[in-house]
């Protein structure tokens, strides 16, 4: 059960794995201990830095969505995207239905070929 597995490129065994896990954990904890621990808990020093603003409950109001970067692209292909988005209802049965349809088409093509 705890034997050594030889892969042709190296080996794996439980003892080595635990040893290296311990070394990695020790390194991680040492790095973490180098951080500042002199801040006062429960004050603003404990809060997330959000460019001086109050951290919002929901960041959606003040964040710029990644889709903004593709605005021109989406505008140019609007008819295509409208159709795609219309098809994506988010309902699992619809997704399975598409899957069945695609498999059926592929099966037909394969059978004909």
């Amino acid at each position: 059960m705890f034997g050594t597995v030889y892969t042709g490129f190296g080996y794996w065994d439980v003892t080595s794995w635990i040893l290296f896990f311990g070394i990695a954990a020790g390194l991680t904890l040492w790095l973490r201990a180098q951080g500042r621990d002199d801040y006062k808990e429960g004050t603003d020093q404990d809060e997330i830095y959000w460019s001086g603003n109050v951290v919002p409950e929901d960041g959606e109001d003040i964040s710029v969505p990644a889709s903004s970067a593709y605005w021109g692209f989406r505008k140019a292909l609007e008819p295509y995207y409208n159709r795609l988005i219309g098809m994506h209802t988010g309902i699992a049965t619809d997704i399975v239905g598409f899957y069945v349809l695609v498999v059926a088409f592929m099966a037909v093509f394969i059978l004909i070929a």
């Binding site: 002199d38 006062k40 020093q45 830095y49 001086g52 109050v54």
Partner: protein, 158 residues
């Protein structure tokens, strides 16, 4: 442990100063000079200082601008987010006195009305050498805090 030994036996600050900045309504002239201090010509990293992007890691806060109403709460929050001990350096005439914007309707500043200031660096904008000297003087404030002689709010080193 190393920090403790340095402080106890060598009686020096255990780390180099890390500096963060807050533009409280500046025209960006002072901020450009601050950026010049990290350029190869002035190179504040010779002294171990560097600009950091968050007050959570900073020892010194450099403030530029005369503090507009909109920036008052933000400046205060940034100051409060810095771990102790900390020092504040005002860079530029606007932050020091309001300069040409003094008593303007949209100002809550100058900076020392909002947060305690330790070093004033005058100029419009100040030269990078002056900014570096100002930050270096903040070391005195931090060392005095270490010795337990906490300076009163607003008392300037220079």
């Amino acid at each position: 442990m190393i920090n403790f030994l340095l402080e106890k036996y060598l009686d020096i600050l255990p780390k180099s100063l890390w500096v963060t900045t807050c533009n409280s309504g500046s025209c960006n002239g002072c901020d450009i000079e601050i950026v010049a201090t990290i350029s190869p010509r002035y190179d504040i990293e010779r002294f171990g200082m560097k600009l950091v992007g968050t007050p959570r890691h900073a020892d010194v806060l450099i403030v530029t601008g005369p503090v507009t109403r909109y920036m008052r709460d933000r400046l205060l929050r940034i100051y409060n987010q810095m771990p102790d001990p900390k020092a504040v350096v005002v860079v530029g005439n606007c932050g020091a006195s309001g300069d040409v914007f003094y008593k303007s309707y949209n100002l809550d500043g100058p900076v020392d009305r909002i947060i305690p200031v330790d070093v004033y660096v005058h100029g419009c904008p100040p030269r990078p050498e002056a900014i570096i000297e100002g930050v270096a003087k903040a070391v005195l404030k931090l060392e005095s805090l270490k010795e337990g002689n906490q300076k009163k709010a607003g008392e300037a080193v220079s």
